[in-house]
Symmetry: none
Subunit: 379 residues, 2 copies
DNA sequence: AGGACTACTGAATCTGTAG
DNA sequence: CCTACAGATTCAGTAGTCC
């Protein structure tokens, strides 16, 4: 039991806005202008859910070129520029304060970000009194690689889901999530593709917004944590993914956006949005990747010790497993597949079936190790 | 705003400790007591990597960090929350300050946590001047379900990897990670099982430590970001997973722990850990770390005759090798890299892979000449 | 129609050394 | 501090063209 639980349990009164009842608010509409000013104009406790995709404050350096020569089309918009971390924190506190005020006592807030900003946003949420319910990892099926080989591929973004306080009740459609996930509890990591193809909105042939979010992501968020008819506010509306999905799911929406070019695209898009049919929904959500296991994982997890000697079925060659999952044969080394191919003079090779362990009573392919691993570690 | 302001301004001096050279520090050993006091006793810039799994339950460290006199007078019933979050932040800042001081300028720090504390830790890292390189998601293959069905199954933990500053160099064994992941770049989401079965340390039949980390996790961290012989410090040592894996991988370790019951288990465990021999420890090296060969050397030594005609893969251009190792294309000339870049209109080009020899049965990159040369002339 | 091949793209804190 | 330059570096997916 962590400190935050202990502390909040002493605080019995939830520090949350008061329900105002039927205040008149502009639903299914877009408010033009600065999100803090526009939120300030809304009454207390009128929103069921807030979904926010604030600027990430990326702090990119110069141009980045791909290995084949192309230039990466980076986010260089003014709205993502902040002079200091302190300035970003003040901005975050300002919009979170308003968000907390207009959110109903039993409403929840979702915020999405990357490592550039999400830690500051998460700390600010806690400082404001929000109670974190989950952090959710959007694992991108097809992220941009790290072209220079300097870091791990940045293959995910983080969402935080929080209520007004520890004792607040909130909407969580447990059964719907379980159904969506083939009768298994929905986990905190979601595998979804990035937004591209037909879904990606274009203007004059180029992307209308640099960071358009996939509808599948919003679909899951809204389906999990709102009821039909709920009012969903997105203070950083962009091209209106939140509005489009809300409309499709029978939720009401309010968007706030200040860039006229995004507004045009968003309104047109939402006007065209139709309720999704079941098959489209199923496809959208079933980005299940089959479990792939790298040979290196077996080394890391102790299923195959570094130093183990492998051989091919005819015992023509021997290889030693190294700490990084590579195989050493004489002075040459490489992955199980590469070394198998090299030794045979073949263009490719399935290392899983080529390499064998000497198990005393005979050789067995290393694929059996993978099967053992999968048996022990499949959900 | 102090540090935060300075760090946010790009390309400025990294606020980092000074290298002290050969300071005497106690390696491969466990220091008993409070981690802040023990780190304070270590010299500046003596550690290559810090791996930290800090508590988020202040029961472990709270006594030292109760608010001193003259503390913030918080308002109404928020005082306890503010007070306790503040105490956790002071604790975090205190140990991070020491960590930053004892870490070498080109060392890196890893911290693991969950949504209860990771946002505060991440923000504190940035406030101290650390530069986040990646956030990593440990995706648990077999997490504890959410029994009450009130939230998403909490199926991951977050790690942050950071350097001393934006311009700091750091160790990242890119090629080894790529090999470990079946020839694909290692991503920021790591699928690994939780610690259980034989690996889970028991004492009197119950688990010896509530949050023992799997060795596979530390294995990947240490393999990715340290070199053999590096000194790895773990200020929240627990049952010594970091020490056991460091010993296995030929890294030196320092652990700090104050609970006697964990210390006993840790020392016994590390004593039992078997170090891998040097051949198994060898990992795949990036081309970056291979000895450089100038193209001119290949011309001088006869591996490529002056007058040889080179072409790109699509045979769009032809170039003639000159005696000084430069290439002539029409009236223009320059290095293999410069000419490749010029012809493509690209900012840069790797001439070794751009230019090809016509070898009768097909084109082969001139990089194969370099490989041949290296094989024949390496010690 | 369909397969092979090419071109392009996505929230990216993306080089290192010598002079 | 700067500039110059050698040279290392990419995954999954969509769309279009050609045969």
């Amino acid at each position: 039991m962590g400190v935050m639980e202990r502390v909040a349990s002493r605080r019995k009164k939830a520090v949350a806005p008061v329900e105002t009842g039927a205040a008149t608010i502009p639903v299914d509409s877009l408010l033009r202008g600065d999100c803090i000013a526009q939120m300030a104009a809304l009454p207390d406790a009128c929103i069921d859910m807030i979904f926010a995709d604030p600027p990430y404050n990326l702090q990119l350096g110069g141009d980045l070129f791909r290995p084949e020569g192309g230039r990466v089309d980076a986010v260089d918009n003014d709205w993502d520029k902040f002079d200091t971390l302190g300035a970003y924190d003040r901005f975050t506190k300002a919009w979170l304060t308003q968000a907390r005020r207009i959110l109903k006592p039993n409403g929840t807030i979702w915020v999405i970000g990357s490592y550039h900003n999400i830690f500051r946003v998460g700390a600010a949420l806690q400082d404001e009194g929000f109670w974190i319910l989950n952090d959710i990892i959007w694992r991108k099926a097809n992220p941009m690689p790290n072209f220079k080989g300097t870091r791990f591929t940045n293959a995910h973004e983080t969402l935080i889901w929080a209520s007004q306080g520890e004792d607040a009740r909130y909407t969580f459609n447990y059964k719907a999530m379980k159904t969506l996930n083939d009768e298994l509890q929905m986990r905190s990591d979601w595998v979804l593709p990035i937004c591209g193809g037909q879904e990606r909105l274009k203007r004059n042939g180029t992307k209308a917004h640099p960071t358009q979010k996939p509808e599948a992501l919003l679909y899951r968020v809204l389906l999990a944590c709102t009821k039909p008819g709920d009012v969903v506010l997105d203070p950083f509306f962009g091209t209106g993914t939140t509005g489009a999905v809300a409309k499709r799911l029978g939720r009401r929406w309010i968007g706030i956006e200040r860039e006229e070019s995004y507004i045009e695209v968003a309104l047109e898009r939402i006007a065209d949005a139709l309720p999704l049919d079941e098959s489209a929904l199923t496809i959208m959500q079933s980005a299940k990747s089959q479990p792939k296991v790298a040979f290196g994982t077996l080394v890391e997890t102790g299923y195959c010790q570094p130093g183990t000697v492998l051989t091919d079925l005819k015992r023509r060659w021997q290889a030693v497993v190294r700490a990084d999952g590579s195989l050493a044969v004489g002075t040459d080394s490489g992955s199980i597949h590469k070394m198998g191919a090299t030794l045979q003079g073949a263009p490719s090779c399935n290392g899983w079936t080529f390499w064998h362990l000497d198990a005393g009573e005979g050789l067995k392919p290393i694929d059996t190790l993978r099967q053992t691993y999968l048996l022990a570690n499949e959900p």
